[in-house]
């Protein structure tokens, strides 16, 4: 019987069998960040365990770094500087590659790893960050782990894993205009639940997926963890190879026969199959406090748990469009890449955000994205429209205590999580595509970007 793409990567990395169907799986790439990197490296040092192969380990500064221009090690998070300096010291001592605060290639881990050509088709890649699944867009088996697992991978070169199930999510048809990879992900989670992918590696397939550019594929895979999947993965193709060609850490000559073999065989069987008609999708926006509480932007809010309605301050039956917002955020490992910024800027060009918006922020996913955007004048479009233009980092995707939106305010955000308090105490977060964020910032209320595009 044929094998899935996941099966092929799993089998190729299986070093030994352990008990009960578990295996030791070789890990090709490991990333750390400053929020948990110091803890993992210090704990290894204390146990007298060296990093087995420092050349395959990378550390980044992204989670709590300051994103204001002219930044250094100081961060707005109380006590945050220690995370940065201790991670730097530990990374240098361990001999691992560090993308430091002021490095010209600094950025969010899942943005810079592809940008640098560190993730490659067919590799296994882990990081103590749940959105590592983003990198499955390259046909890699990439998933988030905890700090202890990161230590394990660094000390041994392998992880102990029970074999997950396989699921294929096929998006048939073509996406309508104004509808994006973010909307595909939110529609999937809204239909099948935030726990819908539990226990599975999800392969995204179908015409609408094949037609996405690499940045759209990353956005789609980014949300696999919000679906409780171990990870998302997409079969690599010519677009993948073209994206990686010439990147600093990518091989000079590609292993074309091997990379081309990284497909799910036609007769491969998946444990579960889901199909979604992409041509019927609309821009999505979350109304509650879980990514599964998301609806089409022209729909009405359904009845959810009372505590969710209370927190979010919206009732069942009311339309989500037209809901007044106080703040807007474009950034995060989901939607902070050049194409995201271009699409948002196209809506904002020559316009200004509504006077009721108290804070509007754009945070490019990497310093390279920032430079590329500036070369096209996108920074000018954003600042003329009333957005702040920042240095790269995770920023207000979450609240680390030093910088946030005004308590209790309602935010439209290109991020991946709308949990209670995720962006700060009492903050009401609505997650959506950069287009929806831009259109809503202009209108001062949650707004359909298709109407702005049409006008």
């Amino acid at each position: 019987m044929g094998r899935t793409l996941f099966d092929k990567i799993w089998d190729a990395h299986r070093v030994a069998e352990t008990t009960g169907g578990a295996a030791l799986i070789a890990i090709d790439r490991i990333f750390l960040h400053e929020r948990t990197g110091a803890a993992a490296l210090k704990s290894m040092a204390a146990a007298g365990r060296p990093v087995q192969d420092p050349a395959r380990v990378f550390a980044v500064m992204d989670h709590i770094v300051d994103t204001r221009l002219g930044r250094g090690d100081q961060t707005l998070m109380p006590g945050g500087q220690a995370f940065i300096t201790e991670t730097r010291e530990a990374a240098l001592a361990a001999g691992i590659t560090l993308f430091d605060v002021t490095d010209r290639d600094q950025g969010i881990v899942h943005v810079i790893s592809p940008e640098q050509g560190i993730v490659l088709p067919g590799v296994t890649l882990v990081a103590p960050d749940s959105h590592t699944c983003t990198q499955g867009a390259f046909g890699a088996l990439a998933w988030g782990i905890g700090s202890s697992e990161a230590e394990h991978a660094m000390a041994t070169g392998v992880l102990r894993l029970a074999r997950p199930g396989t699921m294929r999510v096929t998006f048939t048809g073509a996406l309508p205009s104004g509808v994006t990879a973010k909307d595909m992900a939110l529609a999937l989670i809204a239909r099948h639940g935030a726990g819908g992918g539990a226990g599975h590696v999800v392969e995204f397939a179908g015409e609408a997926v094949r037609c996405l550019d690499m940045e759209g594929r990353m956005t789609l895979c980014n949300m696999a963890t919000e679906f409780a999947a171990m990870t998302g993965i997409i079969v690599p193709d010519a677009a993948t190879f073209a994206y990686l060609a010439g990147r600093p850490y990518a091989p000079a000559s590609f292993d074309a026969p091997y990379w081309s073999s990284l497909v799910s065989d036609p007769d491969a069987r998946f444990d579960r199959e889901i199909e979604i008609d992409a041509s019927g999708l609309a821009p999505m926006v979350s109304w509650g406090t879980s990514p599964e509480q998301a609806i089409a932007i022209d729909a009405r809010i359904p009845q959810g748990p009372p505590r969710v309605h209370e927190y979010i301050g919206l009732n069942a039956g009311q339309p989500i469009a037209g809901t007044p917002i106080d703040a807007a955020f474009i950034g995060s490992c989901t939607n902070s890449r050049l194409s995201d910024l271009r699409r948002a800027a196209a809506l904002l060009k020559g316009k200004h955000i509504a006077p009721s918006i108290k804070k509007a922020l754009v945070v490019p996913g990497s310093m390279a994205v920032k430079r590329a955007a500036e070369a096209e004048g996108l920074d000018q479009v954003f600042t003329a429209a009333g957005f702040e233009w920042r240095n790269s980092g995770c920023s207000l995707c979450f609240y680390a205590g030093g910088e946030g939106f005004e308590p209790g305010s309602r935010t439209i955000s290109s991020t991946n999580r709308n949990f209670e308090g995720r962006q700060g105490p009492g903050i009401r977060t609505h997650i959506a595509s950069p287009e929806v964020v831009a259109a809503s910032a202009l209108a001062g209320v949650i707004a359909d970007p298709r109407k702005v595009l049409a006008s």
Binding site: V15, A16, T19, G20, G21, A22, L24, A26, D28, R35, T36, A38, A39, K42, S43, A55, R56, P78, G79, A82, F83, G95, T97, L120, G122, V123, P128, D129, S130, I145, G146, S148, E149, H152, A155, T156, G157, V158, R160, A162, A194, G195, G199, E226, A228, A229, Y249, P251, S253, Y258, S290, P305, F398, G401, R417, F419, E420, G421, R422, P425
Partner: protein
């Protein structure tokens, strides 16, 4: 790691689906670079009316008298979703929680539990509901949960079970396979030389 065998405790219900690790321990409560000092921030958004001043909210279940000293939390579906922060498990363990029973767990959280000697037990929603405030005994070796004169069986990976029962350090366990790992690497280096990066200056 301390071995886990049996746990006896009242089941304190927090029967909400999709409880995320931001709620279990918010980013702003991760104040030092180590693994300790986190229990005070556990469930900070729900446990306190004012988290900065640590003013407790008497309506939150863990603040109720019957919950004091509990070792067992009952949760909803997809427990521990969201951020991979292991601090969520460290905070729960430091607070005294030894097991969580829920209909399902988010995968990274579940793995973090096992690495830290906190037993995740999956049982159907109706069973979890029945365990509310009951005196519950969990026997890992037998893979059973007993309460109110009834017994339920639960499923756990063999490997996870062995590690929890024996309090094994996963790294030590894996390092026993050192030779197999080295042999695999040598073969793989020949097959996929492009994977192997050299340390740059």
């Amino acid at each position: 790691m301390k071995p886990v065998s049996t746990i006896a405790s009242p089941g304190v219900p927090l029967l909400i689906d999709n409880i995320d690790t931001d709620t279990i321990i918010p980013s702003r409560e991760m104040r030092s670079t180590g693994r300790t000092g986190l229990a005070g921030g556990l469930f900070a958004p729900w446990r306190y009316t004012d988290a900065d001043k640590r003013i407790t909210d008497p309506s939150f279940v863990l603040n109720q008298r019957d919950a004091i000293g509990t070792r067992l939390l009952l949760g909803g579906k997809n427990f521990g979703c969201g951020s991979s922060r292991e601090h969520a498990v460290w905070a729960l363990a430091e607070f005294g929680i030894e097991s969580i029973i829920a209909p399902s767990f988010a995968p990274i959280f579940k793995s973090n539990c096992i690495r830290n000697g906190l037993l995740p037990v999956e049982l159907p929603e109706e069973v979890v509901r029945e365990l509310q405030w009951a005196m519950v005994t969990i026997d890992l070796a037998a893979q059973t949960v007993a309460a109110k004169g009834k017994t339920w069986h639960f499923v756990i990976d063999e490997e996870a079970k062995a590690m929890l029962l024996e309090g094994l350090d996963a790294i030590d366990l894996t390092l026993k396979h050192r030779q197999a790992i080295a042999a695999w690497t040598e073969t793989d280096r020949a097959a996929r030389p492009w994977v192997y990066l050299e340390k740059r200056a």
